[in-house]
């Protein structure tokens, strides 16, 4: 584990930094993988401040999972962003990775907080200094400010609760704190728990704390957004598992678990409808990320083995999918310079690889068989039915179905339809450094779709570590639950087989009835002939009729971000008032000082 920290001090100089960056991340991944194969238990303690703090580190199995996700994401990202980043970027990125590793292996509050904080400020600096926003400074400042303030509120809230736990348990160890949280009954013990949970929700982007996510994702450097979505959003989940999982299995905590499940469902609904409204690619994916993470929380709230397996599977899927999608989007932005749907269109012919990549991505994202996205969702749905939380299930199905719309929007807005501001003749395929990781990711998604059982082995390890029952593992190709099973292997093969047969049939027809390919503008257009000027690309507005549905419209109209800014302004007003204590005027200061002295005297007189 100690070697994991070695990711830290790198990447400050020279062009070799790219190589160094990749090598170090590859090393990290390798080390982590080795730990899976031959589990080592090395706990590491460090007398940080003698008399005060001893930091302890150990990597549990689910910490390992998260670390692996982060390491692989980082590795792929480094590959995708080869050569376009300065040394400051690399230094900050590795620093952030180091912080993340510290956090994941922390055994006591201080090291946990340490990792958390390092991660926070290095991501902020990355976001701030290398922002990709083409907006004026105002926008970036607001976003960055929102990010850092909310991150810090969550961090300090957490710190406060952790110190409270220290006060109650007398120890700085995470394990002791967790035990205390679950041991104590009664309302007072819920408050620190709820506060701590809120801190983690904030970091994961659940309602109502999600406001920092879209802006940050939009304006961060593109490949870094991929990393944000794939790895950093999982930190909140890790923290939740660490502190609260045994809690949700506890019988006495039914209401809170139910509440969390609903928070997840509502977050997903709001996020999905907001995603449909988005006009730019990254914003859409950002809201999509919020929604997907919400599913994971709902699943965790259910608490059964199947649900937990589903949550973990969904998490892994989400990382894969978002990495894929963000990489391709980054590639497209780099090639075309455009970020919005109403600027793109018709790119399928020149960018077939990207098209297939996004296609695979959205099929998995929407949770459609035969790709891997379905199986995670299947586990979650089945577990909800088995638990009997049918209303929550309904609450989840709504955003799941609505997700189809934004998935379609993503692929249509970029690749299908008609080109608007891009010239399809000049478009080139995205550069190879995006293609290689994308290809790998696509292959993994397909593989997991074919053999969803592959995920069960590591999931079972985690489950047994958490003290839960393990899931039945019959074959690599299928998933099993008490109420039924599904075989990914068969599904993909059946679909593939039928597809092939039909395709052959159709092509056979082609001999007798060949296809005549038409010009792009030669379409059925209500009896008229469209020209180049006719606006034919349904880019920005796709999905706007969803707004007319009462629920969706209500959601989309409100903006929590604005409410936050308003609150922020109010608080700012209070701060201004406080500043009024300090007049710039000398005489007033002097008089106030004497008055103050008198007040102090009174105070001392009263006390003493």
């Amino acid at each position: 584990m100690v070697s994991a920290l070695a990711v830290f001090f790198l990447g400050t100089h020279k062009i070799i930094r790219e190589l160094l960056s990749i090598v170090s991340l590859a090393l990290l991944t390798g080390l982590l993988l080795m730990r899976i194969v031959s589990p080592v238990s090395d706990d590491f303690t460090w007398q940080y401040m003698p008399g005060f703090f001893t930091l302890s580190f150990s990597l549990s199995s689910f910490g390992l999972l998260f670390a692996l996700i982060a390491a692989i994401s980082g590795l792929l990202k480094s590959f995708a962003s080869w050569g376009i980043n300065s040394k400051g970027y690399h230094a900050l990125f590795h620093l952030m990775m180091g912080g993340l590793m510290i956090l994941l292996s922390a055994g006591d509050y201080i090291s946990f907080f340490l990792g958390w904080e390092i991660m926070t400020w290095s991501s902020f600096m990355l976001f701030n200094n290398f922002s990709s926003a083409d907006d004026p400074i105002e926008k970036s400042q607001d976003t960055g400010f929102l990010f850092i303030t909310l991150s810090l509120i969550s961090a300090l809230l957490m710190l406060g609760v952790l110190f409270f736990l220290y006060n109650r348990t007398g120890s700085m160890n995470i394990a002791d704190g967790v035990a205390w949280l679950h041991g104590v009954k009664g309302l007072p013990s819920w408050i620190p728990g709820l506060l701590l949970m809120s801190a983690f929700f904030l970091k994961s982007g659940l309602l109502p704390f999600h406001v920092w996510v879209p802006g940050t994702y939009r304006e961060a450097p593109h490949t870094f957004t991929a990393f944000l979505s794939a790895a950093l959003s999982k930190v909140g989940i890790y923290a939740f598992i660490l502190f609260f999982l045994p809690f949700s299995l506890n019988e006495g905590s039914g209401q809170i678990s139910y509440l969390i499940a609903w928070i997840g469902a509502i977050t997903a609904t709001v996020a999905t409808f907001k995603a449909i409204e988005q006009n730019d690619m990254k914003g859409l994916l950002a809201y999509s990320s919020i929604g997907q993470m919400a599913y994971v929380f709902t699943a965790m709230a259910v608490g059964s083995s199947l649900a937990m397996g589903g949550a973990l599977f969904q998490m892994v899927n989400h990382s894969l999918i978002k990495l894929l999608l963000f990489f391709i989007v980054a590639g497209i932005i780099e090639r075309t310079g455009k970020t919005r749907f109403d600027q793109l269109g018709g790119l399928i012919y020149k960018m077939p690889f990207s098209f297939i990549g996004v296609l695979v991505g959205i099929i998995a994202l929407a949770g459609m068989p035969p790709l891997s996205g379905f199986y995670g969702k299947w586990m979650i749905y089945t577990s909800l039915i088995e638990k009997g939380w049918l209303l929550v299930l309904t609450g989840i199905v709504l955003p799941s179905t609505a997700a189809f719309i934004y998935c379609y929007k993503l692929i249509y807005g970029i690749f299908l339809g008609h080109p608007t501001e891009v010239n399809p003749e000049e478009a080139k395929e995205i550069s190879p450094r995006y293609r290689v990781p994308s290809g790998l990711l696509m292959a993994s998604i397909v593989l997991l779709g074919l053999f969803p059982g592959l995920i069960l082995k590591p999931v079972n390890v985690l489950l047994s570590d958490l003290g839960m029952e393990t899931l039945a593992l019959t074959s690599q190709g299928s998933l099993n639950a008490a109420s039924g099973s599904v075989s990914g292997f068969m599904v993909m093969n059946v679909f593939g087989g039928v597809f092939a047969v039909i395709l052959i049939l159709l092509s056979l027809f082609g001999k007798k009835a060949p296809t005549r390919n038409l010009h792009r503008l030669d379409i059925a257009y209500a009896g008229e002939l469209p020209t180049e000027q006719t606006p034919l690309h349904y880019g920005r507005g796709l999905g706007h009729e969803v707004k007319r549905v009462a629920i969706a419209g209500a959601i989309v109209k409100r903006s929590l971000t604005e409410k936050y800014m308003k609150i922020g302004n109010q608080l700012g007003g209070i701060l201004e008032h406080v500043r009024g204590f300090y007049p710039g005027n000398g005489q007033v200061s002097l008089i106030m000082t004497m008055v103050g002295a008198a007040a102090v005297a009174l105070l001392i007189g009263l006390k003493g």
């Binding site: 399928i348 012919y349 099929i363 949770g367 459609m368 068989p369 379905f374 299947w378 089945t382 039915i385 009997g388 049918l390 209303l391 299930l393 309904t394 199905v397 179905t401 609505a402 189809f404 719309i405 379609y408 692929i411 249509y412 690749f415 299908l416 008609h418 109420s483 039924g484 099973s485 599904v486 075989s487 068969m490 599904v491 059946v494 679909f495 039928v498 597809f499 039909i502 395709l503 159709l506 027809f509 009835a513 296809t515 005549r516 390919n517 038409l518 030669d522 379409i523 059925a524 257009y525 034919l536 690309h537 349904y538 796709l542 999905g543 009729e545 969803v546 007319r548 549905v549 009462a550």
Partner: protein, 301 residues
Amino acid sequence: MLFTIFNSLLAVLLTYSMGMLYYGFYRIGNARIHRRVGPPLWQNVIDNIKLFAKREAPGHGIMFHLGPVIMTAGTITSMLFVPFLKDSAWLQGFSSYGNLILLIYLMVVGPLGNALAVGVSGVPFGVMGVTRGLTRLIGLEVPFFLSVALLMSGSGTISISEIMMAQDSFSNWNMMAHPAAFIVSLFSFVGMMGASPFDVVGAPVEVYSGPQAEFGGKYLGFLAAQRVMFSMVKLILWVDLFLGGATNVFILMAKSFALFFFYFIVGAAFPRFKTEQAVDFMLKLPLIIGIGAVLVRFWSL
């Protein structure tokens, strides 16, 4: 395995012919309501053959070519995961490898694949139709899922065969055992079959749009064929879930025709909702009934 493949082919043939027959009846029935004579019973088959016999078909590239393929593949795959018969080795397809949740999602694969082809063709009206379809889907899926979830929860299983098996006598038909679920599912059923009041998506005649706007020739032939087969799949699914399944093909035909008749009557009688009205409606009345059913089930037990 060979047996299963043979069964699959059989299933395809069966649904195709049953579908064409039923829809032939649909056209005659509609015509008689409109005080017309109507086309012959097998008109649909004749139309289908005509489409395939056309000399050439306009296309927009590979993706467009693949669209109907995906659609048909999706339909047939869904078909193969629905057990047609109860207590029989025939016509089971691959249903032992899947379950109801899988099926619900498989049913969406086809239309989405076609959506890609519509997109690549560039017809904005087609895309509009697709979006309408997806939006309407929100309204349809939510109460449907709820009713099906009630069913699954009540039967303790998510496998269609098992749900079917559990209905061993008339009083045990899920239609009777879970009436609220059945009623709720009927709303979605009407929408999924594409009947008024939920048929704005492919609204015939009214608007020059719909997902099938740009397709012609063999493509349209495939789409027409699969539409019919898909409707049959849905009918059979409902029969399995709510009407007690069927032990042989004839009972299957009888039950599914009864359901089909219901759909036909509803479709002929009602006017059309706009998309958002449809979603709104679906998210209100059926959902409330469904929620009521859930509450009754879980809180009074």
